[in-house]
Amino acid sequence: MSAPSQKLRKSPARVHRFARAIFSTSHRNIGFGYLAISCIAVVIGTILSWLMRAHLSWPNWSLPLHGLILPEEYLALVTMHGTLMLFFVLTVAPQTGFGNLILPGQIGARRMAFPRLNALGMWITAAGLAVLLCAFFVPGGSPIAGWTSYPPLSVSALAGPGEGAGQDLWLASIALFGIGGAVGAVVMLTTIVKLRCTGMTWRRVPLTVWGWFTGALLAVPAFSVLLAAIVLLFCDRHLGSAFFIPRADVINATLISRHGSGSPLLWLHLFWFFGHPEVYIAILPGMGLTSMVIANFSRRRVFAYRLMIATTLAIGLLGILVWGHHMFVAGLNPFAGTAFAAASLAIAVPSTAKVLSWLATCWRARPFLTTPMLFALGFVSLFISGGLSGIIVAQPILDEYLHNTFFIVGHFHLIMAMAAVFGLFCATYYWFPLLAGGRMLSERLGKWHFWLTLLFAYTTFLPMYFSGLDAEPRHYAQLTGLNPPAQALLGAHTVLQLHITGGAFALGLTQFLFLFNLVRAMRSPEVAPANPWSATTMEWAPYALLEPCPDLPTPVVYQRPCHYSDDGTTFIAQWEPPQPSNPERE
């Protein structure tokens, strides 16, 4: 992914180009660096998920060069898949990756604030990924405690293989990730607050920027609390404290007696205080981009624009208050469960407002069904199908039945993983001309890519709802060798699981189409016209993303975004001064 960056550099000196790209503090290179991190993570994470699916469907299948996949290895696969995907793909790519690449152009800034700090954040994140990948190779293998690492399982090496060095590396990696993420968020907040160009009042700020802003506002406190929790867990592991383990805990026939009597629930609180804002950090940029792209190709202003800003902020603010809905059956006080359920259901209201606005924006607009538009619409569809199940699991009594079943897996894979990934694809197809020096991705390949991805996304994750309604738990290495009643209950799931496995493989293989499309576009010489989507936002201004030099005009914003004529034929970009014919309606 960082190939385009070097192709693009207009630097006079071609020598040491690579070294300069590595150590440069340009937001473009940093953004491409973040994208490279998440590309590595997504490839490995997908392969891990394939192994999981294969083992779940054919427990006796032996991996070449490795042999049978043992139950603990299955849990290690689950843990690493979740950690890679959630931390290093869904958080890094939309927020800091595309944030660095597009955000400055969109607010008419020429760069991010604090370029060195920005680069530092990227390299810390990269180090976090490297440390995490090392966990595969240490004795005992990678951790098995899941991406949430609940203690006491994650506290003692006695609790299972991978809970020794592997868990330590996991902690170190996530600590690095948290520091890097917080640094990136601080840079992004400062950029949005201070570097907006003249005339970029906050009602002219595109919704994408609102998404990034809210995500960064969530990232700063969330990652800090995560860091504190990791420090405490490290003390429990190595310094003999007892923040998260109770008095007289017997793990593996060994008594662990410490001073003080902690509680695992403390970790749950601290972790989910980070963990829930985390999922909004992953999805908010996608929401903003979807709004802008749908409006752009419907040639209409985003329906209820100010309400969309308000809902973005409301989702962010409420996102801080709802972490308890991950703990309904974890030993939470039932009254607290009620309160957290109320707050969680409240988030459904701004989310519904967003869906209504998306539907209304493209309603009978005869939109141009380009690939980015298709992916934006796919985002809406997946967001709906995932969000409706979110309303169900937000009710404690129903969560009691559905908690930790495949229903939850389907829920967050649809609303977070798939929706966010569709947002990423939308961003790639939409902004590719800006990223790759005016080249365009092939529309025909893109449409094939979209329809196949949508089909297989639903093929893979929709059946998980039914499998979960039939009470199949997560984290089960295999559905064979259970005791008779469990076998009677879960044995019938093998067919459904086979179906899901097939979908997962097809979903992964479809992405080669996307890869081919990228390579083909990078090799093609033809260059698209400036502003090929006739967009109205600042990043498409003819001088927006060029390397700054003194003879370029300083960007000035005169318009709200999405300024189209009623029939959608003409438009006024944000950087065009208002004509007397159509005075600006603020």
Binding site: D249, P264, G337, A353, L359, W363, T405, D567
Partner: protein
């Protein structure tokens, strides 16, 4: 398998064998139907709005298209939330009835153990320091406590039908998830905490007890069996167990 109501079968849900399960099922089914309806409606609107050939020129009306539907949806969510919370309150806000059958459940890697108070209807003292499955004392009974001598520790949960049960959940090592899907029951057993949950099985039969919180490499095979017997058979079973109990639990 017993006869499953068609609605449950449509949604692939297992049979419900508990007294409180019916209310939960009906609420869950209501939710699912609403979700399915909205999902279909929204996707139809999406497709129709996108493929319709004529472009609507009249300005969209914000009140009718945004605020009214939003209020309606908020009302729906409020209704569902209130309904769910009333169920939640009946199950969780109050403890079990005083005459409920007392059973203590202990989870450890990777098995469940079920303890009945025995003839004196009192649980003996337990101490984690004494836990040792190898020495046949998996729940850590304290031999010095006379109450403990007649406690019955089994690896299978046997319950009478139509009588409320007060389960006391403990975990010895790590967090385990105690779940009986067919009883619509789930609660994590957290080391260091003692938690209560109560329910009333109604339908005799054998049911699966699963662990639903990842607890180590044996997580997937950490199951036990719940056998619900008619009241008379259960009393008989309990009597047998008490007679089979060697006097003095120190083995």
């Amino acid at each position: 398998m017993q006869a499953i109501p068609p609605a449950l079968r449509f949604w692939h849900m297992p049979v419900d064998g508990s007294w409180s399960g019916h209310a939960l099922d009906s609420h869950l089914l209501l939710n699912l139907w609403i979700a399915l309806g909205l999902f279909t409606l929204a996707n139809i609107l999406l497709v129709v709005g996108v493929v319709s050939r004529r472009r609507a020129h009249r300005p969209l009306h914000k009140l009718t298209l945004e605020y009214l539907p939003l209020t309606a949806f908020a009302a729906v969510f409020l209704f569902l939330g209130a309904r769910a919370n009333s169920l939640w309150a009946t199950q969780r806000y109050t403890g079990a009835a005083p005459d409920a059958l007392q059973v203590e459940i202990t989870g450890l890697q990777f098995a469940w153990y079920f303890r009945y108070p025995g003839a004196d209807a009192t649980f003996g003292r337990t101490r984690n320091e004494l836990v040792s499955a190898a020495e046949g004392n998996p729940v850590g009974l304290d031999p010095t406590d006379p109450h403990g001598t007649d406690d019955i520790v089994r690896s299978q949960l046997v319950l009478p039908a139509d009588r409320e049960v007060d389960l006391t959940l403990r975990a010895v090592d790590v967090i385990h998830g105690f779940a009986i899907p067919e009883m619509r029951l789930k609660q994590n057993a957290v080391p260091g905490l003692t938690q209560h949950i109560h329910f009333t099985p109604t339908r005799p039969g054998d049911y699966a007890i699963l662990c639903t919180q990842v607890c180590g490499l044996g997580h997937y095979r950490m199951q036990a069996m719940l056998r619900v017997l008619p009241a008379a058979q259960f009393d008989q079973w309990l009597r047998q167990q008490e007679q089979a109990q060697p006097q003095g639990n120190q083995r």
